[in-house]
């Protein structure tokens, strides 16, 4: 039976941040992946990299399909970011805090996605903190404040389904609040 309507949620973030893992955690079907061998181990040690997109799906009872897209993480594939975000209900940005370039990546993605659509619902999950070192989310919060962005910013582990659900639930709540605001304004 053909899907009644297709909607989408986009997972983005730098390489190795957990986009594929997050989609796999909630997708109804095994995600389609476009991973190939990573030939640039100097930049990132991961053995594979996504070059087009990851694709998962939620098929709701009423016939609505929600497509889950994961973007490639590297900036040379940034043309895919805009293509995939068009018409999306919202964006989940995942950051790998253990990466040396974590803050630079954070800045890159924040600036890019705010430029595409400043009011698109946007939630941020930061993972792989070194908890012995203390609490580091404050650095990311300060960076958001510098950009005058108020967006959900949570410490998560996307290997745990409940953490991915927290991000999606928050995205839905922000979208819902926008819809309610729009209905009050009209």
């Amino acid at each position: 039976m053909a899907a009644d309507q297709e909607l989408k949620i986009v997972f983005t973030g730098p390489m190795g941040a957990g986009k594929t893992t997050a989609i796999r955690a909630i997708s109804d079907l095994p995600p389609v992946s476009t991973e190939v061998i990573n030939s640039d181990k100097e930049t990132h040690a991961k053995s594979t990299t996504t070059v087009a997109l990851d694709y998962g799906q939620l098929v709701l009872d009423g016939g609505t399909t929600v497509n889950l897209y994961g973007t490639p993480g590297q900036e040379r594939f940034s043309f895919m970011w805009e293509i995939l975000c068009r018409g999306a209900l919202g964006v989940v940005l995942l950051i790998d805090a253990s990466s040396e370039t974590a803050m630079a990546d954070f800045r890159t993605f924040i600036e890019y996605f705010r430029r595409i659509r400043y009011d698109q619902p946007f939630v941020i999950g930061v993972g792989r903190h070194l908890s012995q070192d203390g609490y580091h989310l404050e650095e990311y919060a300060k960076e958001l404040s510098t950009h005058e962005i108020v967006a959900p910013l949570f410490e998560v582990d996307v290997r745990h389904r409940e953490d991915v659900l927290l991000l999606v639930q928050t995205l839905l709540c922000v979208l819902e609040a926008q819809v309610v605001e729009a209905s009050h304004a009209s």
Binding site: T34, V36, S39, R76, F79
Partner: protein, 136 residues
């Protein structure tokens, strides 16, 4: 220059560039040819030193990967060639067989020559590149 091009000797790299240069020169319809790693890096290109060839490398690798996924989804074995036709010409992405790491040749051709002729020339070029890269 992409790290993978350093994996090959200077002799091999020079040969690759020569073959690409000859291929573009002897096929007037071909406006651009890029040898690409599967993860989107430009290994060699004609014309050389253009930002557009780097973008073509990244985009063609994305298209190739999507094609691979589509072919698997359709129950076929593996994508060999990807063809995109437009009014002004065509873009073709050929997999280079038996290379490590995997590579593709992305070719942009105008409509001034029949498409079949361009495809034939591309396949010949791919065979030559395959031989050179295997020996490197």
């Amino acid at each position: 220059m992409h790290p993978d091009s350093r994996r090959f000797s200077q002799t091999v790299t020079n040969a690759v560039n020569r073959y690409l240069s000859h291929f573009v020169a002897s096929n007037p319809a071909v406006t651009m040819a890029v040898l690409t790693s599967n993860d989107g890096f430009e290994i060699a290109a004609q014309p050389a030193n253009r930002a557009s060839t780097q973008r073509l490398a990244a985009m063609s690798s994305s298209m190739r990967a999507l094609s691979d996924a589509l072919v698997v989804e359709a129950g076929m074995s593996k994508c060999r060639t990807l063809l995109i036709e437009s009014e002004a010409g065509a873009i073709v992405v050929f997999g280079i067989a038996n290379t490590e790491p995997s590579m593709s040749l992305a070719v942009v051709a105008s409509a001034s020559n029949p498409l079949g002729h361009t495809l034939w020339a591309c396949r010949n070029c791919c065979s030559l590149l395959e031989d050179v890269l295997k020996s490197g």
